[in-house]
């Protein structure tokens, strides 16, 4: 049981590497979907709540984080049919190096925290931090608006992992409210993406620099 959680979390860590190394948007979207599925499954495995409502909420979370959100971005991309390659500002090699640094830093930091709730799962905290920081990195490291939205989703996944696994006091209905907010936010971003493409014929945020001061 314990090893299973850590095993799938290690896959998430690798998927962050993939998201840093890949320049194809569909790959990025699949990575985000995969991470969404894993982070929604983790609470089931570490057994906070195995009641019927708990499982129902988990399935709903899984379908929104793992399927609906990535799918809505995918549809947005299809509709706008832009060049599907994105290049990080710092280049791929620097990004890979950053990933390594990120993992080391995340492991180092989470070691300091010494949280009793998660001592059984060595990779939980590092993965959460890596997702958060990795999302930030994607967000800042790209000029492509779609990649920025994907970074935001990755960050949200990280926060969800922190939230559901560390605190035992949150309620499903509240969690679900948060999820709906995130979903609506992503939908709105997808609509804006389409409009940006229509207006500027590209989704490079360099084009969005007319308003200053």
């Amino acid at each position: 049981m314990i090893n299973l959680v850590d095993a799938i979390l290690s896959l998430v860590l690798l998927s962050i590497l993939l998201s840093f190394g890949s320049s194809r948007l569909p790959v990025l979207i699949k990575v985000i979907g995969f991470q969404g599925i894993v982070v929604s499954c983790v609470p089931l495995f570490i057994g906070n709540d195995l009641s019927a409502t708990g499982i129902a909420f988990n399935i709903a979370t899984l379908s929104i984080r793992g399927i609906i959100i990535p799918l809505s971005i995918y549809i947005a991309i299809k509709k706008v049919a832009i060049r599907r390659d994105v290049e990080p500002i710092y280049g791929h090699h620097a990004s890979m190096l950053a990933w390594l640094g990120l993992i080391v830093a995340a492991a180092f930091i989470s070691d300091k925290f010494n949280l009793p709730a998660i001592t059984d799962h060595a990779l939980l905290m590092p993965t959460a931090i890596a997702l958060l920081a990795g999302g930030m990195f994607l967000l800042m490291g790209h000029r492509n608006a779609i990649a920025m939205v994907l970074g935001y989703i990755m960050m949200e996944n990280g926060i969800y992992l922190v939230g559901t696994t560390f605190s035992t006091s949150s309620r499903h209905i509240v969690e679900f409210g948060i999820l709906l907010d995130v979903l609506a936010g992503v939908m709105i971003m997808a609509v804006i993406l389409q409009n940006i493409k229509k207006q500027f014929d590209d989704v490079d945020t360099e084009l969005l620099k007319n308003l200053k001061e």
Binding site: I159, S169, V174, I196
Partner: protein
């Protein structure tokens, strides 16, 4: 059943998406009137929430709610006149989003659960995004994109902060509901390290939404590009909602005995915002962005006052209320200027005193009020903050505070004088209509009235709110 206050605008908001122009506008005003009625009833003491675990009526929430309600009612009347004269195309989306925006902001003022507060604040971002994109131009698209992305990412950090605060409960082995009121009651038992970390994330997160520098980048764009009634709501009350999140967390910090930590951070962010506003206000070319930077300055003043505590906290609360009233009045006046001159640039305007005399009165009095001159309330608020800063020994901070106030005043005055008296435009596109004049007047008069006479329940709520953050009355 306090929840009805935000459920009504939610339902009417959804209905408004399917209504045609005239009936949608009617619905806007009627909902505004009902909302005001319910808010006054809350002030009069009707305060039983249906879900007490998530919602409660607090003094600071009630104050914000009354301000939101009054502003929205007046703005909705202004909006009916504004829409007719402007080129807003999808009117149903505009009115529907306005109502949903009202609903989500009301929810912020009533929420007591930390996560519900977060949900409500994020929902305000989503509900107001279509308002900014109303004009469908490239610039408004850019502003909307920045607004949604910067605020969503910022608020995501606030979510992390909220999670960390629940973690501080677990670490301190406290088992209470995750509500601001319950946490304030047991604050001493919370784990201080995680509480501090949580506060920093919440301040950065909600501070983004409140427009504190250096996270303010979205604010001038959004306020500049949105139609004026929406800008008035954004600046007048949305910023207050984000402040409420910070205020309530600060309350926990004070109850936990960590006020020097949170107070110092608030002061630093406050002063940074004031300095940033002072730098950018001098060379503004658009009058709505000018007003937006003034909002950043005022949010800085409020954060600074809150951080000082004591008399400063009382001053901050006064500034919060009066800034809402005066700034929204200024934005409504700027809407008239925009319709009349057809441009957002300061250089395209001029001779306001002759071309739009009634708007000029609102605009110029608003300027006097926002610049912190008597007889308006911001003067008293700023005076209290400065006195509070001196009495607590923050001499350098008070010096920076006064310096930024002077620079902002100089920059603002320069632009306002240009708009009001210089230039010799002979014709304007619009006659001033009565419904576009009296709402800004009413807002200014309310601010004026509140300086000389405060209703007893209102002043009781102010003193209660201020007392909770270590203020004196």
């Amino acid at each position: 059943m306090v929840e009805i206050v935000f459920l009504i605008p939610f339902l009417t908001g959804i209905a408004a998406f399917f209504l045609s122009g005239a009936s949608g506008r009617m619905l806007l005003v009627i909902t505004g009137a009902f909302h005001l009625l319910f808010s006054v009833m809350l002030l009069a003491g009707w305060s039983e929430p249906f879900y007490p675990a998530y919602f409660s009526v607090t003094p600071e929430g009630l104050l914000s709610l009354i301000v939101i309600s009054l502003l929205f009612f007046l703005i909705s009347i202004y909006t009916t006149a504004y829409i007719k004269k402007s080129d807003i195309r999808s009117e149903n989306i505009f009115t529907g989003s306005m109502l949903l925006f009202l609903s989500t902001m009301t929810m912020v003022t009533l929420s007591d659960h930390i996560m519900v507060m977060w949900i409500a604040i994020e929902a305000t971002t989503l509900a107001s995004a279509p308002l900014i994109y109303t004009h469908r131009s490239a610039a408004s698209l850019e502003a909307t994109w920045k607004y949604v992305l910067v605020c969503s990412v910022g608020i995501a950090l606030a979510l992390l902060g909220s999670v960390l605060i629940t973690l501080s409960m677990d670490m301190g082995r406290v088992d209470v509901p995750v509500s601001f009121s319950a946490l304030t009651a047991v604050a001493k038992q919370l784990d201080p390290l995680w509480l501090k970390t949580g506060f920093v994330f919440i301040l950065v997160g909600y501070g983004t939404k409140m427009g504190l520098a250096p996270m303010h980048t979205w604010l001038p764009d959004a306020h500049g590009e949105a139609p004026s009634p929406a800008s008035a709501l954004l600046s007048g009350v949305l910023l207050n909602c984000a402040y409420l999140g910070i205020f309530k967390t600060h309350k926990i910090m004070i109850a936990a005995g960590l006020e020097s930590f949170s107070g110092t951070i608030l002061m630093v962010f406050g002063l940074m915002s004031m300095l940033a506003a002072a730098t950018f206000i001098l060379k503004q070319t658009e009058y709505k962005r000018l007003l937006a930077y003034s909002s950043i300055e005022n949010m800085g003043i409020i954060a600074f006052g809150t951080g000082i505590g004591g008399l400063g906290a009382y001053g901050a609360m006064l500034c919060l209320i009066h800034h809402s009233l005066i700034k929204s009045s200024l934005f409504l006046a700027s809407g008239n200027i925009f319709l009349a001159f057809g441009s957002r640039l300061i250089e395209d305007t001029g001779s306001l005193v002759r071309r739009l005399p009634q708007t000029f009165i609102a605009f110029f009095s608003g300027f006097i009020g926002i610049a912190g001159l008597p007889p308006f309330g911001i003067f008293i608020g700023e005076l209290f903050i400065i006195m509070g800063a001196f009495s607590n020994g923050h001499y350098v901070a008070a010096g920076i505070f006064i310096l930024s106030l002077c620079v902002v005043f100089a920059g603002f005055a320069n632009h306002v004088l240009k708009i009001s008296f210089e230039g010799y435009r002979t014709s304007v596109r619009m006659e001033e209509s009565i419904n576009m004049i009296w709402p800004p007047y009413a807002l200014l008069l309310t601010s004026l009235l509140l300086c000389f006479w405060i209703p007893e329940t209102f002043s009781w709520n102010i003193s209660q709110a201020v007392k909770a953050i270590g203020g004196v009355f």
